[in-house]
Symmetry: C2
Subunit: 171 residues, 2 copies
Amino acid sequence: MAKNADYQRIENPFAAPGHDHSSCIVSALDGAEATCARRGERLTPLRRQVLELVWRGHRPVGAYDLLALLQDERGRVAPPTIYRALEFLCDQGLVHRLDSLQAFIGCGHPGSHDEEHHHAAHFLICQECGLAVEMRDGQLDGAINGLAGRAGFTIADETVEISGLCAECQG
Amino acid sequence: MAKNADYQRIENPFAAPGHDHSSCIVSALDGAEATCARRGERLTPLRRQVLELVWRGHRPVGAYDLLALLQDERGRVAPPTIYRALEFLCDQGLVHRLDSLQAFIGCGHPGSHDEEHHHAAHFLICQECGLAVEMRDGQLDGAINGLAGRAGFTIADETVEISGLCAECQG
DNA sequence: TTCATGATGTTATATTATATCATTTCAGAA
DNA sequence: TTCTGAAATGATATAATATAACATCATGAA
């Protein structure tokens, strides 16, 4: 219950009455600026603009949807433009790609950008409302690491995407 | 150690000296026949042939690779043919799609086809040798279910694909 | 300034997947 | 057995996602 409340408050801004999305975007962008500055990476105007478009919602967005949004603001833009920006943002861990949806979403855990660039991201994805929330769970991390360890397997990358119905969309 | 040995013996036929792949294919096909018969589903010659092609290796195969293999045996065949066969096989849980690779692999757990059609499949994928092994782990299942349960989330589908280096490919 | 590097623009194309409608096959009803 | 409706397959076209290759531009260091 308490966990569920946290889940809504922190991760589910659309269901949380108090969510101020414009400040949410601003803080994501500010965090990205800081992260890139610290690393000596360049968050160029284009990359920043794409990140802003990704953050328009807390739902996954397709590359070609982003392309269309970018075209609204910049006139004709070709696919490589958006894909290169997304590649950079994913490399920096500022955006994640959801393989099961072939779509992209802003990273919900900006705090984790220091040590690890593209940290492991685990998602719950609601098939009804489209919301995708990034989860952190020690037990899950432990299970994955344990499983891999026992197999002598060294993890490079994790795709963990659980689809179904969120609490709000049941019934 | 014991776990790792099991992992190799059961799941990693290329590393297991005793692996008889032709009998492995036969048992996969026999199992599929039995499963479909029990359900009143039709494992047609085409579907059976596609399943056989999927089982040529224990590595993920792209739909268009399968299409090419099928064309070698049948002359000109169009994409919908292979996709429809794969859709059927995935629905029956005889094949899994690896979202992180956009590829398909034979299901390594034929025993689980009774209750659940497309059961949850969790993979370790070696980026070096390309081997993908389907894992079953109670702790992992527990962690996922616990996480979802606490969020009030009802699971419909799981994509869990851990990429990295298998024991044989380290160093 | 000049140069080297990385970022972006531009064109073309690769890769993966599906919509649509025609035709065939097959199991069960008559 | 033949008929028939549903499912499976064939065939054509196209959608959706992504990358290769090369030209141009911007930026910062020497």
